[in-house]
């Protein structure tokens, strides 16, 4: 039954793609939402069914048919359900459903309505294939499928030059990671002889993979993950991806697709644990990304870009979790992040909707009295992500930092903690600039200022609810050995590494430090942007170079441009001028000219007169006979 989960949105996408043009908007909305709703229902049923399955018989696998059989290369079209993919299906279909519903309101007046829902359904299908595929090949299909949908949706308003470019950028940057990813898959096929996850697990447990090989493969796979999950050095596409419609940013570029890398690393956790070095690399890249992206978020004025950098930073936290061997904690952060980040994006979309598409925070302010539902939900999201106790983000981020500390990774822990301060700061900078303080709204936008329709606010409320409670499935270990339901649920898939226990007092201390850090960040934001709004200007005046560096995002885009894009473009131009125009075109033109010339010459023999032809025939007979005789 669970194999229907991806197929329903897939079928819906197919129908919309083929017949969408002739279907009324109302029908399109219902079909798109209901297909995801049905998927969500089945996911829930499968989840509860999975709780009853004894751990020994996991994962549940449904093979639909043999897909590729070519010599020793075999791949089935088979879907699997185990705790890891079950959680992912719940997140994808649950958050996806809310975003589908929200989109009905947000995209109501767009002329590409049917196309939008086709892509959105297609994305859901591909993402579910990614998380449910029982072998690496099928997973890669989903991996590429979500990449394609991401490209299509970033460039959804392709008439806009910047949107089309952003789509291309995302696609090309992802390609780099994907090339590494597929290389990793090839290596696995080379050694294991199969892409099946069970076979890979068996091979690792049987000692078929050496540590060096494991490192190579794990690093290649992680390179793929840095592309898809926007980590250093391939994160550059995600901020630009905000050109797409806001619900897309929420679904694809915050909640689901970009976390595919975390899912993949968790899925291959045995490999990373075996390698050791690769795990360390994952942790360090994650920590660096977390702090690097957080600093870039400090100075951005575009509301969606702040959220984009925040997403990069938060995914960095998830990779910290994976890197220090706390895969369950990483997945847990993925789980809670999906709720509060999509909430923040959707609320930001609601703000944009209210302000007729305004994105610049400097032109907002004081919005809390105009947006009575958007404001509190956004605030809940901000509190959750900042790591204030009793909301979901606190539990998951704390779990990651605690594990990092427990594993003795103090450097990573310190970076994470700094990132936490910055997170709290820039999120509340966002809140204060948008909803508090003096109104800086432009007059034409103010005329249409209104709260969003119910179809958009209801998903916000639901997401806010989950942003609060989602953390309670993974309580810290200090509250009891069995408090962390989430981690115990994942145990059959996540093969626990060396367990290091901290003393109870140390753990409480760490929690207190986290809380202090979060509150500290919020307080600084309060001082900077509400209490004495001139402080930021003074700091900018004091450190102009630093501000400029941050404001321009460390010039990474410019460096990449100069280092990779420009040489490539120039080199291509040279090749185009010399090779394409001269050699290839010359060959083709030459062939055509030679053929035409030969035709003209041979045409001279074609007089059209039957006697001439017969004469040649006679000549042939005479020559042939002469040859036979002499």
């Amino acid at each position: 039954m669970f194999w229907l989960i991806p197929l329903l949105p897939g079928a819906s996408a197919f129908i919309l793609a083929v017949f969408g043009k002739w279907l009324p908007k109302k029908y399109v909305s219902w079909q798109a939402c209901l297909s995801v709703f049905a998927s969500f229902g089945i996911s829930l049923v499968s989840f509860f069914g999975l709780l009853k399955v004894p751990p020994g018989s996991l994962p549940v696998i449904k093979t639909l048919f043999h897909w590729i059989q070519s010599g020793s290369f075999n791949a089935d079209l088979s879907l699997q359900l185990d705790p890891l993919s079950s959680i992912m299906t719940l997140v994808v279909t649950g958050v996806g459903l809310l975003i589908h519903v929200y989109s009905v309101g947000y995209m109501a007046h767009d002329k590409g309505y049917q196309r939008y829902f086709t892509y959105l359904n297609l994305f859901t299908f591909a993402m579910l294939i990614l998380v449910m595929g029982a072998n690496l090949v099928l997973m890669f299909v989903g991996w590429e499928g979500v990449g394609l949908c991401s490209y299509l949706l970033i460039g959804f308003w392709f008439e806009k030059h910047s949107a089309a470019n952003a789509g291309k950028k995302a696609f090309i940057v992802n390609r780099i990671g994907d090339a590494a990813f597929i290389l990793g898959i090839f290596f696995i096929f080379l050694i294991v002889g199969s892409g099946d996850f069970r076979a890979i697990t068996g091979a690792i447990e049987g000692g078929a993979i050496t540590q060096g090989m494991a490192t190579l493969i794990a690093l290649l796979l992680f390179a793929g993950a840095t592309g898809k999950s926007a980590q250093i050095p391939l994160y550059v596409w995600l901020p630009d991806a905000m050109e797409g419609p806001t619900p897309v940013s929420a679904l694809i570029h915050a909640a689901t697709m970009v976390t595919a890398g975390v899912y993949m690393v968790s899925r291959m956790n045995l490999l990373f644990t075996l390698s050791g070095v690769a795990g360390q690399v994952v942790g360090i890249v994650g920590a660096l990304t977390a702090i690097f992206a957080a600093t870039m978020a400090l100075t951005q004025n575009d509301i969606k870009r702040v959220l984009a950098y925040s997403t990069i930073s938060q995914i960095g936290y998830m990779f910290i979790g994976c890197g220090v061997g706390a895969y369950a904690a990483g997945m847990f952060h993925l789980f809670t992040h999906a709720f509060f980040k999509s909430l923040l994006f959707l609320a930001a979309g609601s703000v944009m909707h209210a302000l007729s598409g305004e994105l610049d925070m400097r032109k907002m302010g004081g919005l809390r009295k105009y947006l009575p539902l958007t404001y509190p939900t956004f605030l809940i999201g901000a509190i959750a992500i900042a790591g204030v106790p009793f909301l979901s983000g606190f539990f998951s981020k704390d779990a990651i930092l605690t594990h990092a500390f427990a594993q003795g990774q103090y450097f990573i822990w310190a970076l994470g903690l700094m990132g936490a301060v910055l997170t709290a700061f820039y999120m509340f900078r966002l809140v204060f600039l948008t909803f508090f303080g003096p109104e800086r709204i432009e007059s034409h936008a103010k005329e249409h200022l209104h709260e969003s329709p119910r179809v958009m606010t209801v998903p916000l409320v639901i997401l806010a609810f989950f942003s609060i409670i989602a953390g309670y499935v993974g309580l810290p270990v200090v509250l009891g050995e069995k408090a962390n339901l989430f981690s115990r649920f994942l145990d059959p898939v996540i093969h626990p590494g060396p367990e290091v226990h901290l003393g109870i007092s140390t753990e409480w201390l760490l929690i207190l430090v986290s809380v202090a850090v979060a509150l500290c960040g919020i307080y600084i934001a309060y001082v900077f942007y509400l209490k004495s709004p001139r402080t930021p200007h003074r700091i900018v005046a004091r450190f102009p170079a630093l501000y400029k560096l941050l404001y321009n995002k460390y010039y990474v885009d410019e460096v990449y441009n100069a280092a990779f894009v420009k040489p490539l473009v120039n080199g291509s131009q040279v090749v185009y001028d010399n090779f394409d125009l001269k050699v290839i075109d010359g060959t083709i033109d030459g062939t055509a000219a030679a053929t035409s010339f030969a035709g003209k010459v041979l045409g001279l023999f074609q007089s059209g007169l039957v006697k001439d032809y017969t004469l040649v025939l006679l000549l042939g007979v005479v020559i042939f006979l002469g040859y036979l005789l002499f």
Partner: protein, 165 residues
């Protein structure tokens, strides 16, 4: 007697063909050809092939040439079409024809004497031919009948005027 008859028929036959080549009138051409083919039938008779001789005269001199005459009468617009005027076609074909004649002569030169003479046991009785046609050559015979049907239908379809035109 036999050798005299052969030379008479051979000269008449070649003469008929030459007449066909030299005459400008198409109807005369056809009549020259009938004459040549009739002489050829006589030669077949000398070669102990009485049945084929009869068939030659009935089908060629009778049926096929009548067909030719019909067509000539239907298309006879201009009297006398002069021979080929393109010098090099004519010249080249003549040279090639002579070459071919020489080559063929060289090819059969050594074996002409070994072919024997006419007379001896009879081989071409209609009984014997009929037996062969319906035993050893049954399939070619049947296939030929299909060919004739096809030619018949084809000729009718080609020449028939379309009703609507």
């Amino acid at each position: 007697m036999g050798i005299f008859l052969f030379f008479l028929l051979a000269i008449l036959c070649v003469g008929g063909v030459l007449g066909m080549i030299l005459s400008k009138n198409q109807a005369h051409n056809a009549l020259f050809l009938v004459f040549a083919f009739a002489c050829l039938g006589g030669l077949f008779g000398l070669l102990d092939a009485p049945f084929i001789a009869a068939v030659q005269i009935i089908i060629y001199a009778g049926a096929i040439m009548v067909l030719f005459i019909f067509v000539i009468m239907m298309v006879n617009l201009e009297q006398g079409i002069s021979p080929e005027k393109k010098k090099w076609t004519l010249g080249l074909s003549a040279v090639l024809a002579v070459f071919l004649l020489v080559e063929l002569g060289l090819a059969v030169r050594g074996m002409l004497g070994s072919l024997g003479r006419t007379g001896g046991p009879s081989i071409g009785s209609p009984t014997e031919l009929g037996r062969l046609l319906f035993t050893d050559y049954l399939y070619p015979f049947e296939i030929t009948s299909v060919l004739i049907i096809a030619a018949l239908v084809g000729a009718i379809v080609l020449v028939k005027k379309k009703e609507k035109e």
